[in-house]
């Protein structure tokens, strides 16, 4: 009985020590390598040429059908539907364009350089941490921090364009749990945060099925994914800016 009492706390203590030691001793690259491995592995990530995610975008309690299309190298199209009207933001490899039919915008328009830089950074097919050095980004393991009660490695990523982001990698699962960046909103700099959760394995890749985005603490946007298609055929024309017709 005494052994039982001892083994429990001892095991917890050893495990905690291991975790703390691991947190303290891992280098930035080791954390990133474990993150890549946890996400599905480098080989599997690179084997993905296209992706289609469908689900719901939620804001202020309303649901809007959501479709996200991505193909390499960095084409991106995010489309939501509101009462049969399409709101689309897309990156065609050169420009970021958007149309908001729900706001009676009749024609797609090219976005300003600031928005372009922002969307382009998000359109990185593998994410900024994969091959960060060849992309010209600089990474640094800043600290271990609490994210909703769980410990996470905080990696500061200075993108090639000079912008910085923070990626939070869960200390036990090594999955991305949070990402934050400073953005301009109504001419004010605010911190945008995204939280990644409900991970499920699809074709060996770990996909977050729910992402919560906060442009400010009270602006909560939800992206709930219901289906994920890996390497579907996607018409390249869908990334091109919509013509007036």
């Amino acid at each position: 009985m005494i052994i039982k009492w001892l083994i429990g706390p001892l095991a917890v203590s050893v495990f905690s020590t291991m975790l703390v030691t691991q947190e303290k001793t891992l280098t930035t690259d080791e954390v990133i390598n474990k993150y890549v491995e946890a996400a599905g592995g480098y080989k599997r990530l690179k084997a993905v040429q296209s992706m289609k995610l469908t689900g719901q975008y939620t804001y202020r309690g309303w649901d809007y059908p959501l479709t996200i299309l991505r193909t390499r190298p960095s084409y991106l199209r995010i489309e939501t539907l509101e009462a049969e009207k399409r709101d689309i933001v897309a990156f065609d490899g050169e420009d970021v364009w958007k149309i908001e039919e729900s706001r009676s915008m009749e024609q797609a328009i090219v976005q300003d350089p600031r928005t372009k830089a922002f969307v382009k950074a998000y359109s990185d097919f593998d994410g900024a941490l994969v091959d960060y050095n060849t992309k010209g980004h600089v990474v640094e393991l800043v600290d271990v921090e609490d994210v909703d009660g769980e410990k996470a490695f905080n990696i500061e990523v200075t993108l090639k364009n000079g912008k910085t982001e923070n990626w939070y990698i869960d200390c036990s699962s090594f999955l991305l749990v949070k990402r934050s960046a400073k953005i301009m909103r109504r001419n004010r700099e605010v911190t945008q945060e995204a939280f990644y959760m409900n991970y499920k394995r699809v074709n060996g890749l770990m996909i977050p099925y729910y992402v919560e985005r906060l442009d400010a603490p009270h602006y909560v946007r939800g992206y709930e994914i219901t289906t994920v298609e890996i390497n579907p055929a996607i018409d390249a024309g869908l990334f091109k800016m919509l013509s007036k017709e």
């Binding site: 202020r60 309690g61 309303w62 649901d63 009660g149 959760m197 919560e212 906060l214 009270h218 909560v220």
Partner: protein, 422 residues
Amino acid sequence: MNIRSEIYRLSVFILVVANGFLLIEAMAGEKNDKYNWPRFRGPEGTGISKEEGLLERWPEGGPEELWRIPIGVGYSGMAVSDKRVYLLDSDEDSEFLLCLDAKNGERLWQRRAGPLYTGGYGYGAGPRSTPTIDGEVVYALTASGNLVAASASDGKILWSLDLKNEFGFREPEYWWGYCMSPFIEGELLLLQAGGTGNNSIVALNKNSGKVVWTCHSDFQAYSTPILIDFDGERQFVFVTAQNVVAVSPSGEIHWNYPWGGSNIKVAMPILVPPDKIFVSAAYGIGAVLLQMKQSGDSTTVSEVWQSKVMNNHFHTSILLGQHIYGFDNGTLKCIEVATGQQLWAKRGLGKGSLIYADGHLIVLSDRGKLVLVEANPNQYFEKSSVQVLRGRCWTPPTLAGGKLFLRNQKEMICLNIEKQTP
């Protein structure tokens, strides 16, 4: 026979019988209270139900759905008394006070309560306030500020009052309509009228609608008041636009605590017995725990702690023992009330709402996912969840007689969460 002793015995008998009746009556009262939900956030306005014998886990697919009916747009909560459900909804022109049969959702009566409120900066039209049932009368407030008292049995309007006209409403820069729910205490009906001069807080005679007193000067907030008993004195605690203010039943201000600038405040204050008040709001305000102290004839308040740990946007938290459970914007959290320390956090439920019953938090996400969570300060433990509604669900659940009443902007449903006895 000794007549005196006979009279004595008879008196004792009468007393025992009378007390017995009183006891039965008291028990019946308790039972009724326990199984009714007569106002916003339940019998005591705390979001806590005393019901027991509820399902500890829900079957696959969720609790049994007893009925589902279409309703008009609105955020009004459901008040339940004597197996009747009262709420507000709307059509394209008007807001209505409805009475439904709790058994099947059948509409027993409906009365026009005022014109449809259409403002609100994209947050939607329709009523926000929950009716309050007091005996045979139901009180309801439309989003435009029309207060009505109606007969609970047939909906006959007993009196009505246009708060805006009566008290010279001062509309704040951003306004989302009248949201608070009527508060009844004794003969008084209390509200934040948000009027000019000293017409911020008003007390009406609940039988006539006549003004009994008014006090305080501030813009209106969206919060429903609470009644506390502090050091032998009853105080109504209001959260107004820029203050937390305690008022006596005769309209004297006990204390006033300026709080959070002019930002929007929706959540109700919470009494942390015996002598503290917890308040919380979003838009970067956070939470503060106030300590009340009696010195001589006056009450003073001071901050115990303030923190950004809990930002209640639409919904009020729940106090269970030494812990507060609530939505910090889009994150359900448990915090320790004495310190404000966060104990756990759970994302993914949007700006949901919650009530407590029988050891569990019953949480409704802002998209209609209903979740049964163990009320446990040590961890978030989800026991069951089911998608019961779609679209915007900003109305907190109502629980009465083992039945859960939920609504969105188009539908209302009744679920049976009572354990089935063999």
